[in-house]
């Protein structure tokens, strides 16, 4: 369909202020947090009620018009990047907290509500919403559901999928369905779990009910300094093996430490090879016991120094560098590219060494800051987009790192999603019948393929091409690195 016709049609379905079609107005929507991939949509719709969404979906399905849902646009995988022949459906005006139920400990919110706004709204009840992505001041709960977002506290309190109870969803045919419920489970297939992490491919989330947890009595953080990656890796394993489940356990390498210190003046030791930040929460006596045990374990594994937060201010200071690590790295390099693989914890040392060799081979610096407690790596590749060929090499290096993760028994994405950027690596991680099963599943929800087409799951043709061109199995990159 041609753009003018489409826009005329959308104008009939929506009030004038719910539709953008001027190029200048479309510009802010051309990419998400992965700014290297840009595309202008034909139009952006910003509905204000669910009926409008239903009408738009029905119309788009009838005409086979691509629809890309958009929350806050902080996705790091291009999940919210527009389709050039379709529309963006922004949930920005669905920004109300609809109900808070203190007795059943739930909050019912619209999808455009910011992650942090939920915890803020229930703080007076001693409750909070646990998953806390670093982007929590900006990202929307609808986007969190679509990406199954995680955060520092997910080690102990679970990912988005563990903390969402109910979704209202509009299907591509305009029908509304409720997935999950206010009950601990619902009859039939677990479609609620399926929607989490489905990257806007199965339906438009129009309402989210989340579980609220009681705030722990107290929390303390430790900051441990290591000279060797193996020591830091062993220290992570030792804590997990001890039976303690920390509220958070994060690692940063020297490049990230220096960047963070420069940015946030958080008192990090800039000569350290690695630091671990470990948070313990619970009752006063529980926390003081665990602080003692974890300190012992860190020292036993070779920590040069262990700092213990003595006040709430100090605890927040320990975290401030970690929480600002991305923007901090953004300041020491013109551009950076965030990778998101997960590996078994025991492979931390091996994979970090592998990343270091790859970094050297490609001549691109890599800063590591990540969720060590659950093996979720975030190597940040530093590059300069204005240099010819640097982005291409960055992408290639990113791909190599992800394959390293797969070979170490891990996965190509822990929390950022496949989006547009990891389609090739999906071909490495999944077989043809598995990919076919994904396509069949998508088809069960969206038979005309209008939601976020071309993302999350590669076509079999693409994989055939990729696998044919790709150094594979017998001829892996970096043959000198042990393949676990």
């Amino acid at each position: 369909m041609r753009a003018p016709e489409l826009i005329a049609e959308l104008r009939r379905l929506l009030p004038a202020d719910c539709l953008l079609s001027d190029v200048e107005a479309l510009r802010p929507y051309e990419c998400d947090g992965l700014t290297a991939y840009r595309e202008l949509p034909l139009a952006v719709v910003i509905p204000t009620d669910v009926d409008q969404i239903c009408n738009v979906m029905r119309y788009c399905e009838t005409h086979g018009l691509p629809v890309v849902a958009r929350g806050a646009g902080t996705s790091l995988s291009g999940g919210a990047r527009p389709h050039k022949d379709g529309i963006v459906l922004s949930l920005a005006r669905f920004n109300q907290i609809l109900a808070i139920d203190p007795t059943n400990r739930t909050a019912r919110v619209q999808p455009g509500v910011r992650n942090l706004a939920i915890s803020e709204a229930v703080a007076h009840l001693g409750l909070y919403y646990a998953p806390d992505p670093s982007s929590q001041i900006a990202c929307s709960i609808g986007g969190n559901v679509a990406e199954n977002a995680g955060g520092i506290h997910c080690l102990k309190y679970g990912l988005t999928v563990h903390n969402v109870l109910k979704l209202e969803v509009v299907l591509t045919n305009g029908q509304r369905v409720t997935l999950g419920g206010d009950t601990p489970d619902t009859p039939g297939y677990d479609l609620l779990a399926l929607l989490n992490g489905s990257e806007g491919m199965l339906g438009i989330v129009t309402e989210v009910t989340v579980r609220l947890l009681p705030r722990p009595v107290t929390a303390q953080a430790l900051l441990a300094v290591f000279d060797e990656v193996t020591q830091a890796g062993d220290a992570v394993a030792a804590v997990i093996a001890s039976g303690i489940v920390p509220a958070g356990l994060e690692m940063m390498d020297n490049l990230a430490i220096r960047a963070a210190e420069e940015f946030a003046a958080c008192g990090y030791p800039v000569d350290a090879a690695f630091i671990l930040i470990c948070e313990l929460d619970g009752t006063e006596s529980e926390v003081s016991q665990q602080v003692e045990r974890v300190t012992g374990l860190f020292l036993e594994k070779g920590a040069r120094e262990v700092r213990i937060s003595r006040s709430e201010d100090e605890r927040l200071k320990f975290w401030s560098g970690r929480k600002n690590a991305f923007p901090a790295v953004g300041r020491i390099s013109p551009d950076y590219y965030c990778i998101d693989g997960t590996i078994p914890r025991k492979q931390l040392g091996n994979v970090l060494k592998g990343i270091a060799s790859l970094s050297e081979q490609y001549g691109l610096r890599v800063a590591n800051v990540f969720h060590a407690g659950d093996g979720n790596l975030h190597p940040l590749i530093l590059y300069d987009a204005s240099q010819p060929d640097e982005f291409r090499r960055t992408e290639e290096l990113g791909g190599q790192i992800l394959e390293l993760c797969v070979h170490a028994g891990g996965t190509i994405t822990g929390e950022h999603g496949v989006g547009v950027e990891k389609l090739n690596q999906m071909c490495v991680q999944f077989s043809e019948p598995e990919l076919q099963q994904f396509h069949a599943l998508k088809n069960a929800f969206d038979p005309r393929g209008v939601l976020n087409p071309g993302k999350a799951v590669p076509t079999l043709a693409r994989c055939a091409e990729f696998n044919a061109m790709h150094v594979h199995a017998g001829q892996l990159p970096l043959p000198e690195i042990e393949r676990f």
Partner: protein, 377 residues
């Protein structure tokens, strides 16, 4: 070492730590299963997949030729520092728990066995969790990955052995509670947790509405609650965690200690309390936890802090379902009654269509446990 039955792709992690001789038998086994399903798919023969068949009473009347997966046993990998275990579907739950306990860990969703033959595949397919569910999570919360054979006889692997994984749709969790209608499960990876250092059960004599209020009030506080149940004027809670944490909670919450607490929770999980001896139909009602007493005719036991209510009753299906639906809940006829009728709560029309479409996507010939969950899937 690489094993021949695995596809020649790059997922080397699957071959790590396996025993070659053992694998040969397994190769035969899973290949036979694939063959059997392909054949059934071609001929449209319904199959009834069973593990220990301890949950034979659950769901609608099973039909089809029996395919017994209880011979597919063994632990594929277990590393305590990873908090992950991968086991074949036919492995008895009790065996897995015993092994994990040896390293101070457990399957924290407290799977009910309903018989010593209960298998891992059965618990995943039926999606049942024990008393800790509201506080620690359900079976689906702990599933990290699944290998299965779909209705077309394709060998598929989803998820993995890592804590966070959003590559592809979450088919692993979709298998949980699907009653085997989407695929025959071959092996499952779970997140495991440390066994708590200390545990104590406290009892309070209160009425049902006070019990509901208390259970919900406490759940909103940072307490180490791991179970809460109300039965005939007695509210029982279980506290699990560090010595210090449990001791502090005991001081705060008072009540009397139940020295036989752990036996009680076990009997509750296994439905061996006298309450479950009734010959009336046993209903499982899932409701928002703070829902006031429902007042349905029959005997009631409240578990999961009020969110799971067992009702032993002669009341008609329609009346029970309507009453529970009115409070935003759903009702399963767990044991007894006519199994040719709906057992699980009927689905809203939009959801029923999605269920049919999904069934069709995984099992186009409709041969896997047909009708066990709902008549049309």
């Amino acid at each position: 070492m690489r094993c021949t039955f695995m596809r020649a792709n790059s997922r080397s992690q699957r071959s790590s730590g396996f025993d070659a001789t053992e694998l040969m038998g397994v190769a035969d086994w899973s290949e036979r299963l694939v063959e059997r399903i392909r054949e059934a798919n071609a001929l449209g023969t319904p199959l009834r997949i069973t593990g220990g068949d301890t949950k034979h009473f659950l769901g609608r009347q099973p039909r089809g030729e029996q395919v017994d997966v209880s011979g597919h046993t063994g632990v594929l990998s277990y590393e305590p520092t990873e908090l992950v275990v991968t086991v074949r579907a036919g492995t008895p739950i009790a065996e897995v728990q015993a092994m994990l306990n040896g390293s101070g860990q457990c399957l924290a969703f407290e799977p009910p066995d309903f018989g010593s033959a209960a298998t891992i595949g059965g618990i995943v397919a039926s999606g049942l969790s024990g008393p800790c569910r509201p506080y620690l999570g359900s079976v689906r919360d702990f599933v990290l990955g699944v290998t299965c054979v779909n209705g077309s006889g394709e060998w598929l692997h989803f998820g993995g052995q890592v804590m966070k994984n959003v590559a592809g749709y979450d088919v692993s969790r979709l298998m949980v509670g699907a009653m085997g209608t989407l695929g025959a499960i071959l092996d499952v990876s779970f997140k495991v947790l440390p066994v708590p250092e200390a545990e104590q059960t406290r009892v309070y004599e209160v009425s049902e509405d006070i019990a509901i209020a208390k259970m919900n009030e406490w759940a909103a506080q940072p307490l180490p609650l791991s179970a809460a149940c109300y039965l005939t004027n007695e509210l029982r809670i279980r506290l699990s965690g560090t010595e210090a944490g449990v001791a502090a909670a005991v001081r705060d919450l008072g009540g009397a200690q139940d020295p036989a607490g752990s036996l009680f929770w076990r009997a509750l999980r296994e439905q061996q309390l006298p309450f479950f001896e009734s010959t009336d139909v046993l209903w499982r009602l899932a409701v928002p936890p703070a829902t006031p007493p429902l007042g349905l005719p029959g005997d009631t036991l409240l578990d999961w802090g009020g969110a799971q209510r067992w009702l032993s009753s002669r009341q008609g299906d329609e009346a029970i379902r309507a009453a529970v639906q009115a409070v935003g809940g759903h009702a399963t006829r767990f044991r007894g009654g006519d199994r040719s009728l709906s057992v699980f709560h009927p689905l809203a029309p939009g959801l029923a269509t999605l269920h049919r479409n999904l069934k069709n996507a995984f099992d186009p010939a409709g041969i896997l446990n047909p009708g066990r969950l709902y008549e049309e899937i």
